[in-house]
Amino acid sequence: MARMKFLCDADRCIECNACVTACKNEHEVPWGINRRRVVTIEDGKPGERSISMACMHCTDAPCSAVCPVNCFYTTADGVVLHSKDLCIGCGYCFYACPFGAPQYPKVGNFGSRGKMDKCTFCAGGPEADGSKEEYEKYGANRLAEGKLPLCAEMCSTKSLLAGDGEVIAKIYKERVMKRGYGSGAWGWKTAYRETIES
């Protein structure tokens, strides 16, 4: 079984934000919520890097560990998903997440944040694959159709990689070998407790 992961090759990301746009459109993500965003570090300075970040689908996910109602589950592919029917919108996953992935539709509204929303690795939710209910709550289920997340699929520089962790790590390693440099797999140590030697 594959272990799905994201990898953003920061030396290739050109901060075009197409992944952000693709995600919002594919899943009809409501206004104010961004499941994916591009962060530019050291903006305008030498050594500036941009990284596209969403839920990393962590190993031993902190969100899942701290959830008071245990609404998270990890699929056989290692994708961390949650049930919006069980979520009570308490905000705890959001305190625990290292990547700022959980989003709420009603931030700051007397604590009634509404059901949490986050990146699903284009794998929907607990409802039947491809059903209308699943689409309305979680967006498209591309994984069930045999497709990988759209953000990575349409990345123009192929900076953002999504798929089996071993496969994308190999692709990244080969790139680093060929071009002779690489600023590392951002977030991997925090999310998966491993790094890619480069």
Binding site: R37, V39, T40, I41, E42, P62, A96, G100, G108, K189
Partner: protein, 332 residues
Amino acid sequence: MTRLARFVRLAIGASALLLLVTAAAPSMAQQVNPTASAVKEQQLLQELNRIQGRVSIPDQRSGVLEQPAGREWRKFRNVTLRWIGGIAIVGMLALLIIFYLSRGMVRLQSGRSGRTIVRFTSYERFVHWMTATCFIVLAISGLNVTFGRPLLLPLIGHEAFSAWSQWAKYAHNYLSFPFTIGVLLIFVMWIAGNIPNRVDVDWLKRGGGIVGHDHPPAYRFNAGQKAVYWIVVVGGLLVSATGYELMFPFYLSGIEGMQIAQMVHAIVAVLFVGVMLAHIYIGTIGMEGAFEAMGSGTVDVNWAREHHSLWLDEENARTDGARPQPSVTAAE
């Protein structure tokens, strides 16, 4: 002449080519490494324990790329807090049960006189019970967040537990307002009687009326009650302040501030619950005649003499030495 011109042209061309080659050589020999000055993830994390940058979407808070501090918070929430809360609450319950079994209810030594004196006005009792009711709901719904998943969820299942937790969350959020108002009113209403003084030292030395076996003198509030008062005021304001910080995310602080707020909120709250269990014990089965003070608002004069002798003297002096009125007027 033409030969010389051709030679000169050739020489100039050759030297120009040589110059071009030697100038270009260093840049060709050295491989370009654009990551030489690139930002390094581990270095950034070590410096600040978080990585922050610029985003072009409206939500500027999403500029925080990574903050692994959530891991420590997770450990606190799932391990440390459960130990602190478990020890505070189960420990206090065990202590109270042992105490009750060994000491039993502290009886009125001189029995009841049949005459009563007003201890708490209806306004004071209203504020007390409003705060107390809110506190009980807040405590149960709060403990549900920490202990519900391991203890209650396996018993009632996911759907029922989520539905209950959702309502508990709403109750927790909305009842915080009357609770905070109650704490503020308690602070103002009873501050006069709760300033520690010399009488308290003697009272504490003699173990008060519940641990010790005699009745050290006390004014309206003894040292134990003063301790409860200050725990309620300080603890209540701490849980209120940290609770509102969590209820209104990003108004006061970022995520790291909310993690600290949750930690303070939870620790103060579980200790608060422990103290309140003891308060409820003394006010009900722990001491004869104590509940009436907050129940009907009046206490037996003998109870007042035993537990709050100085306060009774004050009250008697205030009513010009008049005898306390019988609560039940005899039919004449």
